[in-house]
Symmetry: C2
Subunit: 509 residues, 2 copies
Amino acid sequence: MNCLRCLVRSSVLCRGQPLAPFYALRAFTTHPQNEMVEEMEKLLTPRAQSGTNERKKKLITKTPKGTRDYSPKQMAVREKIFSLIISCFKRHGAEAIDTPVFELKENLMGQYEEEAKLIYDLKDYGGELLSLRYDLTVPFTRYLAMNNITNMKRYHIAKVYRRDEAAMNKGRYREFYQCDFDIAGQYDPMIPDSECLKIVHEILSTLQLGDFLIKISDWRILNGILEVCGVPDNKYRTICSTLDKLDKASWEDVKCEMVGEKGLAPEVADHIGKYVQLRGGLGLVEQLLQDPKLSQNKLATEGLEDIKLLFEYLTLFGITDQISFDLSLARGLDYYTGVIYEAVLLQQQNDDQEELVGVGSVAGGGRYDGLVGTFNPKRRKVPCVGLSIGIERIFYVIEQKAKASTEKVRTTETQVFVAAAQKHFLAERLMLISELWDSGIKAEMMYKKNPSFLDQLHYCEQRGIPVVAIVGEQEMEDGIVKLRDVATREEVAVPRERFVEIIRKRLEP
Amino acid sequence: MNCLRCLVRSSVLCRGQPLAPFYALRAFTTHPQNEMVEEMEKLLTPRAQSGTNERKKKLITKTPKGTRDYSPKQMAVREKIFSLIISCFKRHGAEAIDTPVFELKENLMGQYEEEAKLIYDLKDYGGELLSLRYDLTVPFTRYLAMNNITNMKRYHIAKVYRRDEAAMNKGRYREFYQCDFDIAGQYDPMIPDSECLKIVHEILSTLQLGDFLIKISDWRILNGILEVCGVPDNKYRTICSTLDKLDKASWEDVKCEMVGEKGLAPEVADHIGKYVQLRGGLGLVEQLLQDPKLSQNKLATEGLEDIKLLFEYLTLFGITDQISFDLSLARGLDYYTGVIYEAVLLQQQNDDQEELVGVGSVAGGGRYDGLVGTFNPKRRKVPCVGLSIGIERIFYVIEQKAKASTEKVRTTETQVFVAAAQKHFLAERLMLISELWDSGIKAEMMYKKNPSFLDQLHYCEQRGIPVVAIVGEQEMEDGIVKLRDVATREEVAVPRERFVEIIRKRLEP
């Protein structure tokens, strides 16, 4: 089906009060025509009242906007990816925690500014006001503060919730996984920060997504740049927000927004432009440390010295080939206080490596020293540095690759199928399969008293089950079980009383 | 701290409108005195308004009522338990799926009656009305209907949400995990049903929670009993609801509620009592098939014949020692259409095995043939049978046991700690640890330029890290790395260029 975008506008009456016109933007890349009709009918029908007479009404078979189910194939792929990522986190000595899907609303509202309008609230039941978590960082800092912990290295893989309108077909959803790794605690500069970058590097390498680049910068350098360029204090945040678009837009467009929309003087914008289009390695750091204006700025110098130290550690880790000190890096969230980083995938464009357009970053993070303190200013500050793997985007890339590949993905791990060659062998199959399960062997059988032999074989081929254990009249007479290799069709007879032991040996890697 | 229950009553003004008096019931088994004061202050303070000035206000460091974090120790235990359960599901050939945490409200409202008031709604944003999922069964049937699937064997492990007031210290929360396994499809009678019971048996056996009992019955038998006893049609549901309390209350109390509150004639109640206090095995099934009244009831007879068939299969599976045909079994949810079952843990009381009071059931399930059809009555019916493992209750039991045990639970899997014997060896440690990570070995080091040797050893002992790799002045001179066994303190020197290879061999099981 062709990609079809349909803009539907209708006023919907809700409980007797008119609402503002209701826009529904739908991408019909994957949904059939009749669902579009269903969607329109739904929009034009008065909102359903709750009550028992609803039982008879046809229920809507769709997931909420911006969310999706994971099919067994997607789960098989997801499981592999998570397993790889968790291995890496564990390799670096992280402990796991988990937190509730919702937090007290006041805990979230205090932490975000621009993002606050994207937070999902729960209905007010007269008790605590609750909101769905927006990321895993705020829950982490709440956890640290609540348990009075000053040092922790933890990972957390869980879904988070954001009520945004971004198109679904580029791997952006309202419900999506985040895989976070963070180190909390007062340590010597840049050591934990460098481990975070090593982890991003390890994960992206192991996932085999092709070449990638990790851009690094520092919030203090960016702030210093804005200061020396003459940006008014009260415009810092909004200018950073525009600068953040440099990964998708050109400098001209970004300058245009800074001057045209954000009211920045053109010469100030130009001055910024001389810095933020710079990227390089240790050489660039040295160059900027010599920069006449920046070298006079305390914050920028601090940041530059730390980036220099970071490069030393990353060199010892052997990963600097994939590191780029990139002054255009701004990042959306406003709680960063030091190093910031973002990893992007690259594609081969002729002889150059260019950023893979459209997917966005596949990992990111930075240092955020002030967050835990917001939970209790009286207690000691707990500096933190961490990273988040953009698992949904990685998932999207891998799914695209899988579609192009001919490799079959198994959704189960069944090793043996217990089949009957003739009718009336249900009891024997039940006993056989029970012995297999009791020995820890993964086995299935058909839930029919008298399944057709061909149906059973076909099921094995479909599911990729490698071995069939066959019972029938002849097998019963001879006191054997036939083991059949599904791929080669070779059969071998084994004594009934030893069949579990023989199968187990056969299945050993 | 002694167990202290505190009943707090206060009126809370919410956005200018008085609410009904607000009761807060708190169990203080685990919380210190000052948090009780905090709780009371919070109740008596006007509700906080949202806004940016909230950033300066002290944020509340607690999780929402009825929810909890999982600490690293709890995660380590949880991971083991899930791993065992998933192994079992996979052993039986199940595929995994995942669904969003919220569904369209109308999809949930149509499915539950009594339970509907416990469903968490999301705030109304003028678009789709959403609610947090209440269980994993309705999402499953929605998934089947949405994808037009008629046959599927799936497992799903995820959190569900119920807004109830049950005490938290008996393992009941508002956010809790469910581990579900279900078989959807039209098959020959009782075969998939028996596999579900086999799975419950396998899981409870493997978890080593002590002796357990799986009670089975059938919704049609229960209905038949109520019919032959003369219960009016319109009272079936409410009587079942009362009968469901038989696992916790005596027959006298239950009869009292049926007669006193539900308006049942006493002789009808007595008649019911003659049946529902019966429990046994195949013999009881045969006895009831001969019962003059029940044998005339078509529904009851159907149910009894199926339970008889089920017993045959369970015998072939070798699990009937833990099966009890128990006519008091009613189960809360009202979508069951056939076999129902519930597993409970037993404790030794003198010579008898008695049900472990207070934990409730640790697994349950049954057949529900009509649910998928509610999503689209025009399509073929998709019969389903399944089970849900009460993971939170199991978790509670295991946590109690762990508290009593002296066994230490590791929260990380780190194998090697890279340490410096003297100052100024950061660079060497970074290089060494990088080689270990690149070889897939789990390693940690201290994030200090010059950590004390004792601090580093102490860290290893605390975390249960078995091996330390030590560099220092002497080691550098001699071109070696020292490997130290943390437990025995034995040290051995290995050549620097072979240390990864040697460590890997040493760590092999």
